[in-house]
Amino acid sequence: MISIETNQKAMCLEQAVQTYVKPGDHLSIGGFTVSRNPMAAVHEIIRQRITNLHLYAHSNGQGLDELVGSGAVSKIEIAYSGNGRFAPTCICFKRQIIENKILVEDYTNFQMALRFLAGSMGVPYLPTTTSLGTDIINKWGFDNKLRENDTKIAAKKLIVMDNPFSRNKIPDKIVLVPAINPDVTLIHTQKADTKGTTRIQGLTFSDVEQAKASKTVIVTCDELVEAGSLNTNPGANQLPSFCVDAVVHVPFGAYPTACFGCYDYDAPFLDSYRDMAATQEQFQQYLNDYILGTKDHSQFIQKACGERLEAIKANPETGYSDQIKRK
């Protein structure tokens, strides 16, 4: 009972990115600060020199910063751009905003999560009461003209309206945040099967909503298993195969960020990245040496992590590593 369509989903990363990521696409990437950034896929986008991307991320760290630093991104909508203690604000992100090289639209954490949820639900917006009275509402990064010209961008950043169900004005005002429907979403996960059934272990962040909101989805995974073999525990799976277009087996695909239960973030590398990204010249050198100068993710890891690879592997009981130096 294996269909043709089924077999076409498992492919190499080069092919997946070539097939599904186009210049100018609205791209969404999963993960959260130091965890499960889809780094292998991000690096492949950089290698294929795909540019002018409109990036959606929730609270992303390394993946966002490298994409932005490489010049692949022209606009970004986001709640948070930081890499934990390693980079309280993402480094290339910070520089490119100050140098006016990317346009940013700022939302809150809850709002970005609601926006992906709205996209996955097929509704144009979801209501909340967060951010009333703040500059999240008052200051817009994308002006009306930009919004009119690109119909993939929401017609408005957000709308404040009266609560139509109000009794005694509780609550009185509602903030409507617009849905996001990316052209393509990249997520990295611990396990997937060759049909596309996807299992995220540990926290899912907003990966599930991002994927469900998206027109196409690329899943990279640390372990690729036989079609149907995840069906023994359906409650542990998040994405049905019909939500996924490409499944790519990439061991350590989130490196240098963490993948709960598989490996930890590579703290020494993230510390050194801070220096390697300190200026655009240095970052270009990093790109040349580490990304453009390597053929694929396994070569990148050899260069970036080398012998530390054993140390970042997770303790199967706790899901993180006690070996990696974090200070």
Binding site: S59, D106, Q111
Partner: protein, 258 residues
């Protein structure tokens, strides 16, 4: 026993946590304060993160709210949306205490963690709201962490990321926010609160050895320092647990931003 300003700051915040509290915290020093509270004062409080880890075990100090160390041994993995829903819902909302930091604060406890300059012409950039605006919008008890510096305590924010008491008095309710503004600003020299009616910042406590005048000198606007009391110095038990159990690797105590 000697202690650093970072240590008394962490303990001053941690002392405010009760057993019944459900504590929401961000990265860095606010996370350290939450974990210290659980280790020292309120073993039954539950710590949760915007990433959806509820009642984390926290055997090792996480370096980010997405760190695998917030996942191990947690009670429940929720979604990001769930985390903020717990703040808003009828049952759990009122027990939630937020602990957040920022780059700038104004006299009414409004916060900037987004940028410096004009929004169309950025001079310095911070990570953005993350969950800060949400927790500041939704919870009744919000504790703010700030290093006391004139460039951080400013009359007018460059960008208001998170709502405090807005322009004071009942302006927060008038905007439609249904909860109270921040309750305390814990700094490395003392603790600020907000005047009952006007909601303007006032000095509540000074740490031992700090002159209230010095605090005023580091605040970019005038605050009432006349009613400040002195904070109890950390005792040896507090310091011992903080140093030996909460951050034995000294990941935050000696490194990282406030």
């Amino acid at each position: 026993m000697t202690y650093s300003s970072k240590e008394i700051m962490v303990l001053a915040a941690a002392r405010q946590i009760k057993n019944k509290d459900i504590v929401f915290c961000g990265t860095g020093i606010s996370m350290l304060a939450a974990v210290a509270a659980k280790h020292i004062y309120a073993p039954d409080c539950m710590i949760f993160f915007e990433t959806g880890a509820i009642d984390s075990k926290l055997e090792k100090l996480p370096l980010a709210v997405s760190d695998s160390r917030v996942m191990y041994g947690a009670q429940v993995f929720c979604s990001l949306i769930d985390s903020f829903c717990f703040m808003q819902n009828r049952k759990t909302g009122s027990n939630i205490v937020g602990i957040i930091g920022a780059a700038q604060i104004d006299p009414f406890g409004n916060l900037n963690s987004t940028m410096i300059g004009n929004y169309q012409d950025t001079k310095a950039r911070f990570p953005g709201s993350g969950g800060a605006c949400d927790v500041a919008s939704f919870v009744d008890t919000n504790i703010i962490f700030m290093k006391l510096e004139k460039r951080k305590f400013v009359k007018i924010l460059d960008y208001m990321t998170s709502p405090g008491w807005l322009t004071g008095f009942d302006s927060r309710q008038k905007q439609g926010l249904m909860t109270r503004g921040p309750s305390a600003v814990v700094t490395d020299m003392g603790i600020m609160g907000f005047e009952k009616e006007s909601k303007h910042m006032v000095l509540k406590e000074v740490y031992p050895g700090i002159d209230p005048e010095t605090i005023q000198e580091n605040v970019g606007f005038k605050i009432d320092i006349s009613k400040a009391t002195q904070t109890l110095p950390p005792n040896s038990r507090e310091l011992k647990i903080l140093r030996e159990k909460t951050d034995p690797e000294r990941l935050i105590l000696t490194k990282g931003d406030i």
